[in-house]
């Protein structure tokens, strides 16, 4: 179903306010002005067993004005949306740019982009989650938790659901003007087993995506099937032996591999990071510009794309927050690093003809920065299905579901855990083990990828909570990937790591 931008957002004085800020900024000496008027509504529902534990419904509305004066940025924002405030914000932003000038040796320039006047774009979703009553949401999660609690294995169940509607009007002094609306959903349900020996848990594998409330039915993700299986899988995990640390072939399911892609490829190929803009906070990258076109990032089977076009992708838009139209491009081709993620400023600095449209700000209070597009590992068109991948492994572990994650500030050394760890012997699953973490260096890991699953194994995974920049910003991003096989990866026993 194709929705329209909500009429109550369109009823705001979008054009009058953006025109006022742009004209004011230009008249005060700015060479560039861009304006975002945003409303981001976020709902959270957290259930403890069958009762709501926490419930919020928060809407952030405001206007942000960014200018360039003599090659220096200035920015100001307010929750008040009026032409009077727009004039005032432009004045403050220009003053900030003038004050910043003496501290700025880099003269800001923006890569060119065609002008898109009066464009509208709305993401693909069926049911606005904010049209669903609180009672219905609570009832759905209570029902799913309740089914888990019927099992003697499940002592407690918790559910976390988050739903976001993002509305954004962008206008700049080149003449581009876009109005967009996006909706996204995520829900995770956890079954917990408590006994005299301690506690163990297992979470659902459903991946967040750009859907509406229809995602909570069974048409997109089969919740009924997963909830029915979870107690048995948890019971098996509770009884499972602790893993013996060592090197194993890993078959990694997309519900786990998306996060490894996010951390070791997604962030590593942000050009602002590679150039040092995030050095104080999020870090830098080993994939520096001198490696472009020469770094063998992974095996020859590795093909990674960036895009802002994937249907239901969390980073999918019509236009980015600098008025750049959505695109798709190669980041890694046959294992070779061939591309980066760019915004207009970084593209100009790197001598690129055009930004690939990765600018994003998470609120009207924050400046747009380069944020991650949907970064996805492509399946092998002729690759095997999941059973085929597992059948090719003599001695290994099949990992499903994400859990703990951590990677160093240059994106070399990472460690991930998961939800389910199924032992593979002679091509067959022979039961779960637990307490597994895998640890590797990025390029060693991706170069060890010896089999890539076919299209039937492909899943769009992702997260709502990718952090970057100061002041801190959050972005939602998707990562599609097939299941894949990695050769002799270092597996730790987390109980041993804890010194127990």
């Amino acid at each position: 179903m194709t929705h329209q931008v909500d009429t109550d957002f369109l009823a705001l004085p979008l054009q009058a306010v953006s025109d006022a800020a742009i004209q004011s900024g230009l008249s005060l000496g700015a060479s560039h002005v861009d304006v975002r008027i945003e409303r981001v509504r976020t709902g959270v529902l957290q259930m403890r067993d069958t009762s709501p534990e926490s419930q919020t419904d928060e809407s952030v509305t405001g206007v942000g004005v960014r200018v360039i004066v003599n090659g220096a940025w200035g920015f100001a924002s307010s929750p008040e949306i009026s032409t009077t405030k727009a004039y005032e914000l432009a004045k403050v932003a220009v003053a900030m740019a003038i004050t910043s000038g003496p501290l700025s040796t880099e003269k800001i320039a923006l890569a060119p982009e065609p002008v898109y006047a009066s464009q509208t774009w709305v993401s693909e979703y069926e049911i606005d989650p904010f049209d669903i009553s609180g009672e219905e949401k609570i009832a759905r999660l209570a029902d799913l938790n309740g089914r888990l609690l019927k099992s003697s294995t499940v002592t407690n169940a918790s559910a976390f659901s988050m739903f976001v509607k993002e509305q954004k009007h962008y206008a700049d002094s080149y003449g581009t003007s876009t109005t967009q609306q996006r909706v996204r959903m995520q829900t995770a349900i956890e079954a917990i087993h408590v006994s005299d020996k301690g506690f163990e848990s297992m979470r659902t594998l459903a991946q967040p995506a750009g859907f509406g409330w229809e995602w909570m039915g069974n048409s997109v993700w089969n919740w009924d099937e997963e909830i029915a299986e979870l107690p048995t899988l948890l019971a098996e995990k509770v009884a499972a032996p602790s893993v013996e640390a060592g090197r194993y072939d890993l078959v990694i399911h997309p519900s786990n591999l998306w996060l490894t892609i996010h951390e070791s490829i997604g962030h590593a190929t942000e050009l602002d990071r590679a150039l040092g803009y995030e050095a104080n906070y999020a870090g830098t990258s080993f994939a520096t510009v001198d490696n472009l076109g020469t770094l063998q990032y992974g095996s020859s089977q590795m093909n990674v794309t960036g895009d802002r076009l994937t249907p239901h992708g969390l980073s999918t838009v019509g236009y980015d927050d600098e008025g750049v139209a959505a695109q798709r491009w190669d980041i890694i081709k046959n294992g070779l690093l061939v591309g980066y993620q760019l915004d207009r400023r970084i593209a100009a600095r790197a001598g690129q003809e055009r930004s690939n449209g990765c600018a994003f700000a998470d609120s009207p209070s924050h400046v747009p920065i380069q944020r991650m597009p949907n970064v996805s590992l492509q399946p092998n068109p002729d690759g095997p299905d999941l059973d085929g991948l597992i059948a090719g492994v003599e001695d290994g572990i099949f990992i499903k579901g994400d859990n703990s994650w951590s990677i160093d500030m240059q994106r070399y050394n990472f460690q991930f855990t998961g939800q389910q760890f199924h032992r593979i012997k002679n091509g067959k699953l022979v039961g779960q083990v637990k307490d597994v973490a895998y640890q590797a260096t990025t390029t060693d890991f991706w170069r060890s990828m010896k089999a890539v699953g076919g299209p039937s194994t492909y899943v769009l995974g992702g997260a709502f909570n990718c952090g970057k920049a100061q002041p801190g910003q959050i972005a939602a991003v998707s990562h599609g990937c097939p299941a894949a096989v990695f050769d002799k990866v270092n597996v730790l026993n987390t109980v041993a790591e804890a010194g127990k």
Binding site: E53, G62, N280, D408, T417, Q439
Partner: protein, 461 residues
Amino acid sequence: MIAPQELIERITRAADYEDCIVIVEAKTQANLRWASSTLTTNGVIAEQSVTVIAFVSLPGGMAAGSVTRTNIELDEIADIAKAAGVAARAAGVAEDQAPLLTNTEVGSWSAPHIATGPDVFKTFAPQLGEVFKKSQSDSIELFGYAEHTHTTTWIGSKGGLRLRHDQPAGRLEMTGKSDNRNRSTWEGRATRDFSDVDLIGVDAAIRQRLEWQSRSNRIDAGRYQTVAPSGVMADMLAYLLWASPARDAAEGRSVFAKTGQVGRTRIGEQLAKLPINIFSNPNYKGLECNPFNVATSSSAYSSVFDNGLPQEQWDFVKNGHLNSLLAPRAISEANGLPYAMGGDNVIMTSPESSGDINSLIAKVKSGLLLTTVWYVRMVDPVTNLLTGLTRDGVYQVKDGEVIGAVNNFRWNESPVELLGRISAVGNTEITATREVEDLERTAAPAVIFEDFNMSTVSQAN
């Protein structure tokens, strides 16, 4: 925009249910960000949030529901009051219901928000320019961030709450890199108004650390006696605090649950060999913070029913023993535990503390000195096992002296276990976390951890 006080009066009048609490938070901020010794972004930010919490009487008890909006106009007041009531009825009778505080006043209710702005940097910014110039001439690159925020919180209710608190907060972070970015270090400072920020001192500390890195060795992973600065201890404290809800422990699903005795917690158990205290106190000098509870929604940590209750000292760990876990009133009653609410600061002290970090280094025969920890994440909630990286410089210590830099590590450790492996404690100081920015007000000592588990080597600089 409508003044916060007027908004509260109008919304509480419009609320047609038993009680209504309105929380208005006005925030202004100025920030500067830089990389490679040049300013990269800046901002002057104003934000305002209005949270309406409805308390609705239902058969069986009271329900609560909340709605938060940025900016409320006159014609939206009835809608937001109604929406909160709808949310409460949908939620049903609240598990955390407790009598609401009424008729209490704190602070200057009618005064407007005092905005911060770029002027807060009027001394700092020119100094920063000078430090940039000096770094450029000395082939040092500086990266960093300065932020000053002023937040005013008003809580008003139908029942006569009229509470107000003003909270200034600021932080400076500076990363220095040299030798083609192969050397890297960091300094962080927490401040209330930037008047006490010694930028020249920060620059000098960065230069000293970069110089220490002129001698470097590669060493293997393993367990090391490790000196952790106060900022590292502060990051570890965050993970202890996040595991502190009493309800999770009472249900057997927390590191503070008593294994084998579901329903019982580890309160009273000795965690540290040294007499260490971890607490929050809104009156702690230099870290003054909100003297009353503020909760826009309920969770395992706090309850909307406890809004406005006085925030007193909360002794989490006392004399090395787990003393108290966070328990809103209803949770405390249900589990037979005392009511305990954490404040907006955290402090770690010990009567056995003495000296600064250099006095701790002097005690180490063979070990490591950290600068910061990074990308810390929970691996196993059963033991509170964390993983993370060392960052911004790891130094080898021999016979009480720093002898050079070594490589970074991935580490795996539980802060609960680490409390038991603290062998020496320096003097408590106001400090800045590296990663956990939510913990804005922290005082902690530098410590020596015995047998810190460096799991693998990281190539990162």
